[in-house]
Symmetry: C2
């Protein structure tokens, strides 16, 4: 561990004053000059600290005036409870709503709190499209030809380089390019399971993982999950010993929907446990680079010594969902997955591969990522506060350290499918909790995508709050 | 039926003279002026007739001299025999060579007679890439966003329009865009089969179809196939009655590898038979638009009255393999296939969809297609003649009416895998026959891709002929 830089220490100290309400919402922070004098630190350091607090969504700069504490309610709402799903494996039964929610992403009139798709305003669209054009002129033939599995060597080299940040030492040949992360997890599941098998998933779990399991004729056993630290390793050990799953599927960092990140040390335990049981771990790391602070979390793959972790990811959240470029690191299942991919669709779009490789090499991906993280952090924080303001008492909400979704647990026995329907009628799309359970649990939860959540959505959150409140009342009056 | 135009009647008459050797190889055709006078037809008509013969690869124009009969050996080699595979369903065992052959398409130093990939020189690369750039500027946001299943409405409208030529009356909503035709057939197979099921395939069959069946745990039953008229409907009826396959997979027009096209009337019988047995027909129509003369063949889907034909195709042979744009018409399996596609990879590359839609609408696709057909016809004819010249006696070769591949049956018991290896060492890639059988049959056959076959490949064909000859001799001496 490195000591954090001075400005971050200063920011933490000031945040402490906000947390304990020494500095209250609406109050002005000490001026930069005065804090610099009082704490004997440079003006630059104070400015950096205040900017950090601004990025954390705790204060705002008002022109010609100074920094002010925002009406922070971050400690006001508790986080959702740890999940306690049934220990018994079951078939998947997820309503067809999931497909509707994905398709509604193309409707610009809806407030997009539903599917976890990235907001194109936050993506380097113009630059990527320009690079695509440049690649088409520079490599016309490569662009028109198949880019056969395993995909562009340039792109795989860039991906291998970036995975150093996740703690993974990969060669380009360890990587196969896919049409997005979903295809990667499908390939992984097809490689290591057969119909009738059981796989382990987090509870709650990403609905498309559940639907994929269903499509492959798999049962799932749900693993209890902590709202911040993710899958319980102890519960996983129990499931491994008792249900012998054919694979375990995890969104190990900035989990969808809970936002939980398995701490690095527990990721090591996870990888070791899976190797001990010789059960493949399928790791969906699609949100791994979208941490709000510090270094990006490690991947469990970083601790894999036996090759039985299959790492899946893509650029669909950080660069270009429409380009359909993801990848898989198949570990010891390389040959099987290569064969499956080869007779699935040969490869990915050739120019998209080249454009993303060029962007990673020279397009300022890190710079873009820093900005994306800051914006998402702000939006996540804003949406949390807005929910706290508008939702009824008893609401719980996740406090993710990265990613872009919030998991909201509503008080009492609200029916999130009814809320979904009424919200849709009001022009707002959300993801009801039942989608995230193979057996229709999480009826009282909803997932919100924060990527579109800025001040302009205040009314939408307020309307959502009204709907939640009125549903809760109906439920109460219905049960009396 | 329309009567063929006058120039075509004239061309056929002259071709008759060539076929019966009244006009021999190397001889000059009657001059345009003299034939015009003798047959009392206009000079324009004679010119059109001679150009038609040139397109058919029968004559060549020599500047300042006239038209000469090419050393046509088109009647010299017989076509391969009708196949007579085992009636017993079996598991698929195809050597890993298939993947190697696909990957070797990226090696520009090899003579590309192997995988059936299109030659990029024959594709409208520059224009398509330009349209891609235009679309990126015109619709930046659509290009960066997911194009969720079922895919771009513009593209599906254009596809529906073009399918009129295949005899299919489709609405855009009948179509789902896929990442190529292979993905479409995979989706179809996943939708209508489960592991352990048997599917019917033509014998020989496209190797990636066999590999896909294998990957899905399916057995296959091979249906005898005529070298020109394709799958035997009578044998299919027997297989349906005796083996109750879960589906039948056909490349119904310009079959890969045989080049056979099931005649329209037999396609009607095929569709009716499948409906009678209520077994889904999966129709891979990827070569359907690549006919050499007349109207494109109908699809069996045109005769489907019950929705149990699933039509699969793509633009990978005619426009841009690297764009990865295909489609599926799922018929009555729509909901299942939509769900499978949605949790496979959401959709295809968004800009590629837009660019191909624009090309179909205003890029001169028909004009391009006419030129592509003419070139492929010439190359197929050239390669047939070159094989006739260089391969040992007893060789048989297909005479396809479209597509781009030739199926060569060698005399005696040549081992095509040895030929493949020696050819590769000599810088030539081919596809050995064993790949096209689930049980290693067709050892004495090879498939040649004609898309790269022009005069510059004369030496390569000669070298291949030498290898085939020497393998045949080794086999003979080995058996004495």
């Amino acid at each position: 561990m490195h000591a954090s830089p001075l400005y971050e220490q200063v920011a933490n100290k000031v945040q402490g004053l906000i947390d304990c309400r020494t500095l209250r919402a609406g109050e002005r922070l000490p001026s930069v000059r005065s804090l610099s004098r009082e704490w004997s630190i440079s003006i630059t350091t104070v400015m950096q600290a205040y900017r950090t607090l601004e990025n954390r969504g705790l204060v705002e700069a008002r022109p010609q005036s100074g920094f002010y504490v925002l009406s922070s309610l971050r400690t006001a709402l508790p986080e959702p409870r740890a999940s306690q799903p049934s220990e018994v494996p079951c078939d998947v039964s997820v309503p067809d709503l999931a497909m509707r929610i994905l398709q509604d992403t193309s409707k610009p009139d809806l407030v997009q709190f539903g599917a976890a798709v990235q907001n194109p305003d936050l993506l380097p669209t113009r630059k990527l499209h320009q690079m695509l054009g440049t690649m088409a002129r520079r490599h016309p033939e490569r662009g028109i030809n198949y880019s056969m599995m395993p995909g562009s060597a340039d792109l795989r080299t860039e991906i291998a380089r970036r995975q150093v940040g996740a703690g993974c030492a990969l060669a380009p040949d360890d990587i196969i390019v896919t049409n997005g992360c979903q295809e990667a997890t499908l390939l992984a599941l097809r490689a290591v399971t057969k119909p009738g098998d059981t796989i382990g998933v987090e509870s709650p779990a990403f609905y498309n993982h559940l639907l994929t399991a269903d499509a492959l004729g798999l049962k799932v056993v749900e693993i209890p999950t902590h709202p911040r630290e993710g899958m319980s390793i102890e519960a996983l050990r129990y499931a491994l010993a008792n249900h012998r799953p054919a694979a375990v599927l995890t969104v190990s960092s900035h989990h969808n929907p809970t936002g939980a990140t398995i701490p690095d040390e527990r990721k090591r335990q996870l990888a070791e446990l899976m190797s001990e049981y010789d059960v493949p771990l399928i790791e969906d790391d699609i949100f791994g680079e979208m941490n709000f602070e510090g270094d990006r979390p490690k991947a469990a793959k970083a601790f894999d010594r036996t090759g039985n972790t299959i790492l899946c990811s893509s650029f669909s959240k950080t660069l270009a969902p429409g380009y359909r470029i993801g990848w898989i690191v198949p570990g010891k299942y390389h040959d099987t997955i290569a064969r499956l991919k080869s007779c699935m669709n040969y490869g990915a779009n050739a120019l998209a591969e080249l454009a993303i490789a060029a962007f990673l090499e020279e397009g300022g991906y890190d710079h873009h990522l820093r900005r994306l993280r800051r914006t998402l952090e702000k939006r996540v924080r804003w949406l949390r506060e807005s929910v706290a303001e508008h939702f009824p008492e008893g609401t719980r909400i996740s406090n993710p350290s990265g990613g872009m979704v919030l998991w909201v647990e509503m008080a009492g026995s609200s029916n999130s499918v009814c809320i979904y329907r009424r919200a849709l009628a009001a022009g707002i799309t959300i993801a009801p909790g039942v989608l995230f359970s193979p057996r229709g649990e999480y009826r009282n939860c909803i997932r919100l995508n924060a990527a579109y959540a800025d001040e302009s959505k205040e009314k939408a959150v307020a309307r959502l709050g009204e709907i939640v409140r009125s549903e809760a009342e109906q439920t109460v009056s219905g049960t009396t």
